[in-house]
């Protein structure tokens, strides 16, 4: 896999944007700013997915992460809004020794990962021994065989078709388990987020008892 031409330019733009936005996600004082920086990081990574030829995953990333999960995050930030953090009255990081230990750990991790990637990639190259020209020629030859889109500008890849086919054939059991997991997540989050009044109402308690205990949380949880 070797990119060339404009792909290189876009690779550097989007990878640097992803890293910068990730750093700002961690360092922003306001949680809403954090969420917005995380959105831009996710969009940049989706652009990297498109560079890698995974258009379907890029679309899923935008729709699910940016359209679903991050909106959920923003809702929760609005619900539990903490003004002290934004106004600078409270520290956003842990105590200094903890931060120093975490940074030393991260530094060791980055040294280890870079070393591992370097040596592992050299071993991989030795095993596969694929040259830049051969890979580029193979990818252009593969692109020539694809059918042209209706607009005549781009060529349609069969990548999405293959992802869908494998999701329903050899990955069908994990697919069903994933749907079950989503069902459990829906029910679990509804269970977790409801208030004591809603809990009592769902349990079919007599309205007299509801009136008596509805305001007192501790007593209700002791009775149940």
């Amino acid at each position: 896999m070797i990119l060339s031409g404009w792909e290189t330019v876009f690779f550097w733009i989007f990878s640097l944007a992803a890293i910068l936005a990730g750093l700002l996600t961690v360092m922003a004082r306001n949680a809403v700013h954090s969420a917005l920086f995380l959105i831009s990081s996710l969009v940049s990574v989706a652009a990297l997915f498109i560079l890698l030829g995974a258009e379907f995953i890029a679309g899923v990333q935008i729709l699910v992460y940016v359209g679903g999960v991050m909106v959920l995050f923003l809702f929760v930030i609005m619900l539990v809004n903490v003004g002290a953090e934004e106004e600078g009255r409270a520290a956003i990081f842990n105590r200094t020794p903890q931060v120093a230990a975490a940074l030393i750990f991260s530094l060791l991790l980055i040294i280890g990962l870079l070393y591992a990637i370097n040596s592992g990639y050299q071993g991989l190259q030795k095993r596969d021994s694929i040259s830049a020209e051969k890979a580029a020629a193979a990818s252009t030859a593969r692109e020539q065989t694809l059918t042209t889109g209706a607009t005549g500008v781009s060529r349609l890849t069969r990548e999405t078709e293959r992802v869908g086919a494998s999701l329903y054939t050899y990955a069908s059991l994990p697919f069903e388990i994933a749907s079950l997991l989503l069902l459990v997540a829906i029910i679990g989050s509804v269970m977790l987020a409801r208030t004591v009044k809603q809990e009592i109402a769902a349990d079919d308690v007599d309205s007299e008892i509801l009136k008596q205990t509805g305001s007192d949380e501790g007593e209700v949880s002791a009775n149940r």
């Binding site: 896999m1 070797i2 990119l3 060339s4 290189t8 690779f11 550097w12 990878s15 961690v26 949680a31 954090s34 995380l38 990081s41 996710l42 990574v45 990297l48 997915f49 890698l52 995974a54 995953i57 899923v60 990333q61 699910v64 999960v69 959920l72 995050f73 929760v76 930030i77 619900l79 539990v80 953090e85 956003i92 842990n94 903890q98 931060v99 975490a102 940074l103 750990f105 991260s106 991790l109 980055i110 990962l113 870079l114 990637i117 990639y121 596969d128 694929i130 992802v163 494998s166 990955a171 994933a178 997991l181 989503l182 459990v184 997540a185 829906i186 679990g188 989050s189 977790l192 208030t195």
Partner: protein, 134 residues
């Protein structure tokens, strides 16, 4: 003695120039290792965020960053296997779909817990949530 110095300088220039031009060539043609390095940096930013921040929502966002770095690794290896003719290149993309599903479920449950926590304890700072400590 005096004619050693220019030779040394020449050798130094040659080797450093070679190394520099090789690095420049590799930046002009990003390959698998570049994507892996980007993913590793994103992962480490996420780890640092989880370890240092006090706001539990920002910690969740850092976890999303970590999962996204793993996704980038999967997609990069998927493309690499496609180009080198390795075994089943589409598996990386399928696995990424499942990671996104798990991330969505984790965010839903985690944010439900955050709301319940805020309702009971009036705080979202992890160093004040120490009921189960000692």
């Amino acid at each position: 003695m005096s004619h050693f110095v220019p030779v040394l300088l020449l050798i130094l220039q040659e080797t450093s120039g070679d190394r520099f031009s090789a690095a420049w060539e590799s930046t002009k043609h990003p390959d698998l290792s570049k994507f892996l390095v980007i993913a590793a940096i994103l992962f480490i930013i996420g780890v640092a965020g989880v370890l240092t921040r006090r706001n539990i929502i920002v910690i969740f966002m850092s976890i999303e960053l970590i999962l996204n770095a793993a996704n980038l690794n999967f997609i990069a290896f998927s493309r690499y296997l496609q180009d080198t003719g390795g075994a089943n290149p589409i598996a990386g993309q399928v696995f990424t779909v499942f990671i996104i599903v798990v991330a969505a479920a984790e965010a839903a449950i985690g944010l439900g817990i955050v709301i319940a926590l805020y309702r009971n304890r009036e705080t979202i700072w992890v160093d004040e949530i120490d009921l189960m400590k000692w």
